[in-house]
Symmetry: C2
Subunit: 311 residues, 2 copies
């Protein structure tokens, strides 16, 4: 066996992606297959086993462990999905146990943003900073925390749901049912709503008017000087800045890493995030903080692969 490797499985609603990586996070192989949640959890176990088998055939050797990362509320102790919008048909099923039986090795099951935090801590930052938080910015905003080499999971596996911190108590409606959550203002649907409200507020010459715009359109518009789009990103940055302020008072971390699709547009809002944090007069914990944009786009899957070896 040339390389020792762990396998991380990123279980999205559409694709199941298995990544094999070394303890340092070097990706050796990555394969995917449709998830087909309509076929139920047993088919999921079979598809996962098949991916693992294909990887091991290709790489040789045997991965000592597997870690499955899923969007949603994971009961880490019992290895069960408590709530997962993309994989509803697996909710309540003893998924970890079935995977362990099927794959004959230790399996862990975690929230995908928690695995992105492990990727940020162990791979991107090479375990050099002991207290690392992550915000995964996609449709929703996920969170994860690694404190002194330990993943923060909480009493029932739901810790670090930073996207549901209340930022504006009477703010935009969130997919969770509440109002004013961080993700309702800083996830892609928060961004879309912000642009929509700005367009409705005033007669605008923005190139985003009368258009079914994507986050990339909003980024392109801002980069081309569109004032409305720039203001939308500032508002995203302001919401993120308030989230960062709360996280700093709570954890006093070494670093907060922005990951996920919307982190690619970080240059458009990071100044506002920093200005919001810099406005705090209680300086102690802010002077120490590093605000970083993830360099790797695959922190979740590579984090899961490395975690499979660390767990």
């Amino acid at each position: 066996m040339k390389n020792r490797y762990g396998i991380g499985v990123d279980a999205g609603g559409t694709f199941l992606k298995a990544t094999a990586a070394t303890p340092e996070g070097k990706v050796l192989c990555s394969l995917s297959t449709p998830t087909r949640p309509d076929l139920g959890p047993k088919a999921f176990v079979a598809s996962t086993a098949e991916l693992v088998e294909r990887i091991e055939k290709r790489l040789g050797g045997r991965s000592p462990g597997l870690c499955v990362a899923v969007a949603g509320d994971v009961d880490v102790q019992r290895g069960v999905l408590r709530r997962s919008p993309n994989l509803e048909s697996y909710e309540g099923f003893p998924l970890r146990k079935a995977l362990q039986n099927g794959l004959k090795r230790p399996v862990s099951l975690h929230n995908d943003a928690n695995m992105a935090a492990w990727g940020a801590y162990a791979v991107e930052l090479k375990r050099k900073l002991p207290k690392v938080l992550v915000l995964t910015m996609g449709t929703g905003v996920g969170g994860g925390a690694v404190l002194d080499g330990k993943l923060l999971t909480g009493a029932t596996g739901t810790a670090a749901e930073f996207g549901h911190m209340r930022i504006y108590p009477n703010g935009y409606p969130c997919n969770c049912g509440a109002h004013g959550c961080l993700e309702a203002h800083a996830g892609t649907y928060g961004l879309r709503r912000t642009v929509g409200e700005l367009l409705a507020e005033k007669k605008s010459t923005s190139r985003l008017r009368n258009k079914d715009f994507t986050p990339k359109d909003v980024a392109d518009a801002a980069n081309a000087g569109d004032n409305l789009a720039k203001e939308a990103w500032r508002r995203v940055g302001r919401a993120l800045g308030l989230g960062v302020v709360n996280l700093v008072y709570t954890f006093n971390p070494d670093a907060i890493v922005f990951a996920g699709g919307l982190s690619r547009a970080g240059a458009l809002y990071m100044d506002t995030v920093k200005a919001t944090a810099d406005a705090e007069s209680f300086r102690g914990p802010f002077g120490h903080l590093k605000l970083l944009i993830a360099k790797r786009p695959d922190l979740g899957s590579v984090g899961a692969a490395v975690y499979a070896l660390d767990a």
Copy 2:
């Protein structure tokens, strides 16, 4: 030596109080002396040494360690007060080292709310719940967290400053310089401001009008049926409820314990806190949560005494 005991020193701006307690938190002796911060840190070390000597003369034996709890921002690693409104003259002085030299034993120096968290975890809850947060409600609102038997201190000692979570982004001014912090709405000055605004809003027959009221007056008025006072406590409860929501999404704790002077009025706002938490539709981490009011009024000092043995 009959009892093994630790000594906790609660260093307030007015009084220095030393408490000797067993590992289980039974208080064996408690002595105090004026702090006199005007005399500088060396006088503080001498006063502390004298209190410890008097305790050991009375109890016999020798306490193996000492823990000093201070309001403010403590550099836990270096053992230095970074910022302490009541003890400004000690800021920057190598206090822990001076105490260790003066007392010839290990000394730790911590934020007082962190020690209240240790008291809640180790004494009040007898180490039975692994993830315990505390909110200390006095003039300000302090915070502390114990996760799996470890005190959360953060990268530079400033973690768990829950009183400075932003609850209402354009809310009341906070003593820290920001607006809308939890303590600006739920500490005693937040309560006073809330009552003041309610009195200004409308012609009121409240018994609090034209009066320099204390928090106890507001509690007495509410208990006597005064509607304005009851509304003020509901607003405190609403701010605390939003704080609790953020803490639950962040830590997914087993319990949050309310301590400090204003926790005595808990019956006047706890229903609102619970209703705010119960309104969350993302139920996972809330079903598990215990919201408790501290039974002991001395969690900070007894927590420091026990921590002196645990550290």
